[in-house]
């Protein structure tokens, strides 16, 4: 994209702004893109990095945009209220470090009038938990969050049924607040969840369960060329723009990333702390992909760098300042509260942004990742000739 802009004599950010998908645009397979905010991610990212302002000598900025689908699929959850009124989520979902499972109580707590911290979670146990597709495809919260919300609504119904009897009130007049059910406007008339649970223990039990219904996928037409995209349309597509400021040691090819601005349109943000952490981690992985990682295979097929001393992840000492932004807008046909997948998207644009910044800093383009010092140095040497 940067090279096209150069050919056109245009600013690379401007060329992106002109061509980015907008609300109501048609995708490559006739998918109509509804409520998307790609352009806003670009505008915010370049603003956060200070694009256009003068830079110290030897520094350069690079920008890249990315998109990624969400993956609607089946997933299940149970919620039970224990004898003391405490809630437990039982899920088949896995917590692989994204914070998705740890976000589930936020969704259930809102429906049940509780504090998320009160929840215990039983997870990544395929014997006790209902079915889940596993941690992959940026879809844990997207699908399991939906199941947990539906299970919370299921158990809410059961709670209200018992409360109607206990309080002799119509459910329309009841609300769930702080671990009890109370009559709206008369908070002194209440029954605790512990009390309801003890009644239910000799009866139907207080166990909510559901999978919820995955949102419908977008309509599309794959009769044209879909290429190697994998899926013919992008359900609840997510967008992101990363802008990177870095410095290149032209003599050695060593690249030092100084600052990254990462802005994602991942729909509504359910868990701000978790989402920011996921983007920060994604950016660090993106820097590793861009500069230092990569399995090397010897001629005899053996891995040459099987240990972390030679397979070079970025260390915490290498991590630059990372500014994270969200276009926090609910998306249609998406996950809970209008959220979209955020597992993989945060490490998609970073390598491209770094490669563009290296080209802007040196005038030489590295065409293969990782852009190791040797490759950057070779590109700079080639450009000199």
């Amino acid at each position: 994209m940067d090279e096209l802009a150069a050919e056109l004599g245009m600013d690379a950010v401007e060329l992106r702004r002109k061509n980015l998908l907008r609300d109501g645009d048609e995708g490559p397979t006739r998918q109509i893109l509804d409520s998307i905010h790609a352009v806003e991610t670009l505008d915010r990212a370049v603003e956060l990095i200070g694009h256009g302002k003068p830079l110290p000598k030897g520094e350069a900025i690079g920008v890249a945009c990315g998109w990624w689908p969400s993956f609607p699929m089946a997933s299940g959850a149970f919620i039970k209220i224990n004898g003391d009124g405490s809630p437990t989520i039982i899920t088949g979902a896995q917590e692989c470090g994204t914070g998705a499972v740890m976000t589930l109580p936020i969704l259930a707590a809102e429906i049940l009038g509780m504090n998320p911290a009160e929840f215990s979670i039983i997870y990544q146990d395929t014997e006790t938990g209902p079915w889940d597709g596993g941690a992959g495809g940026s879809q844990t919260l997207f699908n399991n969050g939906r199941a947990v919300s539906a299970a919370a609504n299921d158990i809410r119904d059961q709670i209200l049924k018992y409360a109607e009897d206990a309080l002799e009130a119509n459910r329309a007049d009841l609300e769930l607040v702080d671990g009890k059910v109370q009559v709206k406007g008369s908070p002194s008339r209440f029954v605790t969840l512990a009390s309801i649970a003890s009644t239910a223990n000799g009866d139907q039990q207080l166990i909510g369960r559901s999978a919820g219904s995955p949102p419908p996928g977008p309509t599309s037409d794959a009769s044209g060329c879909v290429g190697r995209l994998g899926s013919e349309s992008f359900a609840a597509p997510t967008f992101g723009t990363h802008a990177v400021r870095l410095r290149v040691d032209r003599e050695t090819g060593v690249v030092r990333v100084l600052e990254v601005a990462a802005v994602q349109d991942s729909g509504a943000v359910v868990n701000r702390v978790g989402a920011s952490g996921q983007v920060t981690g994604g950016v660090v992985m993106g820097i590793g992909q861009a500069l230092s990682e990569g399995t090397q295979i010897a001629e005899d097929g053996r891995v040459r760098n099987p240990y972390l001393l030679d397979y070079k992840l970025q260390t915490i000492a290498d991590v630059p300042e990372i500014k994270v932004g969200f276009i926090d807008m609910p998306a249609p046909d998406a996950g809970p509260k209008g959220s979209k997948g955020l597992g993989e998207p945060p490490c998609i644009p970073t390598p491209g942004a770094i490669a563009n910044a290296i080209a802007n800093a040196t005038g030489a383009r590295v065409r293969r990742l990782p852009a190791t010092p040797h490759r950057v140095w070779s590109a700079v040497q080639g450009a000199k000739r």
Partner: protein, 325 residues
């Protein structure tokens, strides 16, 4: 880690290590010594030494070598510890001196700056607290960060066996990658740094790809003795560019008598690159290493000359000079 269900023969240790098994050797012994005499006795009976364990244990786990059947641990031998002024105005460094101690010692900062530069970038924070000077030298890695500075400062290795003491220049310690000239019954007890002449300044730097958990891709040391704006004497050594860390006398000849300016530094650096015999490995191809030998050598020469006049990079130079920009 898999649980071990039955004893393994000693010969299977490498495979066991590769399988991620901590392994065990039937009849193996481990002795924790508290005096040099205890160590020497164990060595005479065929034991091998372990100090910080940052090379021996990690290398065993990676299947680089078998864990020796008989180990004598020296980390509790207090006679091997400490940094002391020596009689002739130099410094005595016990073999158990940690990299962190070297990197933060005031006398080393003032008079042997290149050694602080090197020690400050060994491995990670944890490695520098646990890893020892003796281990770094006796591991005989061509990429050892303290090797170049010690060679250039004319450091003497003090070796002890039951037959007595032997003193050899650190420059003669390594025989090749992972091999030393030290006999199996000898213990490196200390390294002595002779007093540097007045006007001495120095710098060690390496090419590195990241800021922690790194090994020199290429390293270089420059020591200059500046007198009246001229380099009266110098030493240049290259690291990770040959089977052993060694001096480049051609580079020194170019520097000696000169003003140590950019043009001279560049010529000396080219001499260092010409003297290098780099390998292709997972970290870099040889041609890139050779080109970087010139860049890094020029930078350390310039930094040493600048330090001689009270300017130049901070000590240790970490974060300022080596590979980092």
């Amino acid at each position: 880690m898999t649980a071990m269900t039955e004893p393994r023969p000693a010969g299977d240790m490498g495979a066991a290590a590769r399988a991620g098994d901590s392994g065990g050797v039937s009849g193996a012994t481990f002795r924790s010594a508290t005096t040099i005499d205890e160590v020497l006795e164990a060595l005479a009976r065929g034991a091998r030494i372990v100090a910080g364990g940052t090379d021996l244990v990690v290398g065993t786990r990676q299947g680089k070598w078998k864990l020796p059947a008989h180990l004598v641990s020296i980390d509790r031998v207090d006679e091997l510890r400490g940094i002391r002024a020596s009689r002739e105005g130099g410094l005595w460094l016990g073999a158990l001196t940690s990299h962190d101690e070297l990197a933060t010692n005031k006398a080393i900062h003032e008079r042997w700056a290149a050694l602080a530069d090197g020690a400050a970038i060994v491995g990670s924070f944890a490695t520098r607290y646990v890893g020892t000077l003796g281990g770094n030298l006796m591991n005989a890695s061509p990429a050892a960060e303290t090797g170049g500075p010690l060679v250039c400062f004319g450091a003497i290795a003090i070796l002890r066996s039951r037959e007595g003491e032997r003193r050899i220049p650190v420059a003669e310690l390594a025989a090749g990658p992972g091999r030393t000239t030290v006999r199996p019954d000898e213990l490196l007890t200390a390294v002595e740094l002779p007093a540097p002449p007045a006007g001495t300044a120095s710098c060690y730097a390496r090419l590195e790809y990241r800021r922690q958990m790194e090994i020199a891709v290429v390293g270089a040391t420059a020591v200059v003795v500046v007198d009246g704006g001229r380099i009266a004497d110098s030493c240049v050594a290259i690291t990770a560019l040959a089977p052993t860390i060694h001096r480049v006398t051609e580079a020194e000849a170019i520097l000696n008598g000169s003003d140590g300016g950019r043009e001279v530094a560049e010529r000396a650096a080219q001499a260092a690159a010409a003297a290098s015999r780099p390998i292709d490995d997972v970290r870099a191809p040889a041609d890139y290493r050779r080109a970087m030998a010139a860049v890094i050598t020029r930078r350390v020469i310039t930094a040493a000359v600048e330090r001689a006049s009270g300017r130049g990079p901070q000590i240790p130079a970490s974060d300022v000079l080596h590979g980092a920009v």
